[in-house]
Symmetry: C2
């Protein structure tokens, strides 16, 4: 009969100890296939445990398939062939080594994780970082509304929201669009998602993997990356001073063009109304053609009224409008949405409504109240003023600095970045590299070109997360770098 | 010179009113292309507004491309060709009709939205609903931790988390897996995502659109839907009493098999260890082959220890383990994660780290604290006990009812559902239809088959969201339906 030393069970429960011993013997081959296991009662007596303990151990082995039962005959060892799995030494060594490494882990200092190894670098100025300033997030209001939602909306909170988001938050967004963007959309046209990246993926599923997608060149590189990761053709469409060139859409057989007509990143171009109509005319020529209007930072136009959305003149149902709260609230919350033309909204409803919405109901309800109670409007006005002051201070600091004489500023009235053209003998790469060595992180417009011929000496100045303390020093660094000799340094 | 009646500006700002009037005239053709606009000063005098008001109106028109400027000559109307966009009547009518419908909307009662039209039906019993009972969610603890996070983690809260989730929450999950599933994983192997559906999409991107995917038949239909929406081949693999049939994987040339070996939905099958090794052996034969282990409800095994995960014996790095907090917490929060084998984790890091994590940092940090402070373990133990009592009460109620004599119960020890086999002359479809007419919602096992031959007269009993009040009546309904004649009703 099998014999195990119950005293070794240690902190383990008795049934689990017996289960593990038998399992080990089965995996090691000590208990061969079809061997009968001892009857419960004598085995229990021998081990000095109760019959129920043995029963529980056998039941677990049975459930996991290590043993099988024959009616009125007892329990037998199953045939388990681990030999065909290379690297498996009867499973057992694996378990043992797991245990060892588990113990090793317990004693070792816990410094695992990619991030733990990467300490964030401190810069005099970081003109690449475009994350909102943490201080600007309306913490106390958000916390207050979160508490209210947790208290007052308990029943709604635990209901999974419909695929596009709860009706409450879609109504709030429709209201925002009406007030801020003069857009008249039905809440049913709105699909919320945890980030615009996720929505790009949904768009591919909705419009088709067989379509050819196009992105702006230059442009935000993640957009083309995502289309390519979704396994669709993605063309780079060159731009002139009005936006993407429509002839190039025809030439590349693009079906779906992804653009940001209200404020292009990184050039800052606003697509004029004539080009907008040209694009709509292009789209109207085939039922396969659509325009994705990525309106990522229209809330932050610094001068004049917001630029109207293309969606406003979309009488042919060709424009999918996308926006996000990443810039206006915080990118650490994942609030994005798209507005589908009605026929596409119907298609989405018919074919994709089995998908769960990717934003938690709690955060949806919090956002909805934040908008409905007027906090969003207040916040956005405060932010716009704060960014405008920051931009003005930065522009003034540049013009007063020595650097001022070497630069020209373009497209400074929209969004949270502008372009600074610098007189320098250095290549863009060399300029950015030397600046970074001296503590100033800056990116060149030319980095954002893929196939089109880039403009040189134009640098992107993001100022949403900029600190003003070390700004003077940073501008001086850029001046020295711009003046520096090609070979020197 | 142009003439507009400034008194009509109403609540609009003056500059915006002038801007709109000119825009309207341009779009209607009243102001033809290349027409010179009046000089600012005399125009301002004529309208009775300040020069700056006219300047602002012109600036907005310029930015949007309705007019252009010639140095020292003034402003001219742009050529805007709207005629090629079918349905566009110079854009203007569109704006007017938008305004009308906006006003109509203001006065109409706001009953838009798909959901508003669908009132949820009340049932005596709903055996299809598998959402957790709202009362079971630990509201006060969750609210307390949320408040703490909002107070104490403000700086972390506004940093967008790395692609896989913040290190804190990945460490918490690694700890859970160690304690509950005896799994030893590095936090870097964990990728968090807003729902398992989203993770399935990521898996396709990671393993390839050219691979052939396989799902269990019968099975949860959304899984195959998602693979097909991702535009990949998805085979239905028939099952025997141990799980998917390995020969069928070979025959269908499946590369990636998606299974739930610890508790299959809907049959309840636990894949025995011998079949697990067979599957691993199958996977080891090609570098393209992988197993997706969907461990959706292993926390709720009612009797005995949890079934070990296949990931535990995955020495060849072939198993992608997926789990979710939808069942254990609430499906209205979107917390899911996958554990990648180390080589795939490296590939993910190299190729997909540009993706933002789809769960907000706030919810990640709340979940992390909820786990670390021991609340998750307490909650899961309480839930398991509650579900066990509910299951026991239900089983007892069935056996005591008249229905008891007509049924046999299968697979009642795991997860939050079991199978009830019913003696009846009705087809499954007829049975479910008649039950629903009498207020009992129930689904048949045969509904979950796609290509394989289904077992008849087996019904799925989900009890996680069941109310006990009307249970007796519901069982009586099922008894009557089971006894009812084929033609009668």
């Amino acid at each position: 009969m099998l014999s195990y030393d119950i005293k070794q069970a240690d902190s383990d429960s008795l049934y689990h100890f017996i289960y593990k011993c038998i399992k080990k013997d089965i995996l090691s081959g000590a208990l061969p296939a079809d061997e009968k296991l001892p009857s419960k009662r004598p085995f229990a007596t021998q081990l000095g445990v109760s019959v129920i303990t043995v029963e529980n151990a056998y039941a677990q082995l049975l459930t996991e398939g290590f043993i099988y039962t024959k009616p009125r005959m007892g329990f037998f060892v199953s045939a388990i062939d681990t030999s065909k799995v290379p690297g498996t030494n009867a499973g057992l060594n694996n378990i043992a080594s797991q245990k060892q490494s588990r113990e090793a882990q317990k004693s070792a200092p816990d410094t695992s994780g990619l991030e733990a190894r990467k300490a964030p670098k401190k810069y005099l100025a970081d003109f690449i970082n475009n994350q909102a300033n943490p201080e600007s997030f309306p913490f106390s209001t958000w916390a207050k509304i979160t508490r209210k939602v947790l208290c007052e909306n308990q029943n709604e909170l635990l209901v999974r929201s419909p695929y596009g988001g709860t009706l409450a938050v879609r109504k709030s967004i429709a209201k925002l669009l009406r007030e801020f963007r003069n857009m008249n959309v039905d809440p049913d046209q709105i699909i919320m998602g945890a980030g615009t990246e996720y929505l790009y993926g949904l768009i591919v599923q909705l419009l088709g993997f067989d379509k050819k997608y196009g992105v702006e060149d230059p442009g935000y590189s993640n957009i083309s990356k995502i289309y390519r990761k979704m396994n669709v053709v993605c063309n780079f469409i060159p731009m002139d001073e009005s936006g993407v060139i429509v002839d190039q859409l025809e030439e590349t057989c693009t079906d779906v063009i992804h653009i940001s007509p209200s404020h292009h990143f990184p050039t800052g171009i606003v697509t004029p109304v004539s080009r907008r109509y040209e694009l709509l005319s292009w789209a109207s020529k085939s039922s396969n053609r659509f325009i994705v209007e990525d309106d990522y930072d229209s809330e932050f136009r610094m001068v004049g009224s917001p630029i109207p959305a293309m969606k406003n003149i979309d009488v042919m149902d060709k424009v999918i409008y996308i926006n996000t709260f990443s810039k206006t609230l915080t990118s650490s919350a994942r609030f994005s949405y798209m507005v589908l033309p009605k026929p596409l909204a119907k298609k989405f409803h018919d074919e994709f409504s089995f998908y769960a919405c990717t934003i938690s109901t709690m955060e949806q309800l919090t956002l909805s109240r934040f908008i409905d109670e007027g906090s969003f409007e207040k916040h956005i006005n405060r932010m716009r003023n704060a960014y405008r002051s920051r931009r003005d201070a930065l522009l003034q600091a540049i013009s007063k600095s020595k650097l001022g004489k070497l630069v020209e500023i373009h497209e400074e009235n929209a969004g949270l970045h502008f372009i600074m053209e610098v007189q320098t003998a250095l290549t863009d790469e060399e300029f950015c590299k030397r600046a970074e060595e001296k503590g100033v992180r800056i990116g060149a417009l030319s980095d954002y070109y893929t196939e089109a011929t880039p403009s040189e000496h134009q640098f992107i100045i993001n100022y949403s997360g900029l600190s003003e303390k070390t700004l003077g020093m940073a501008l001086n660094v850029l001046y020295q770098v711009a003046q520096s000799n090609k070979v020197a340094n």
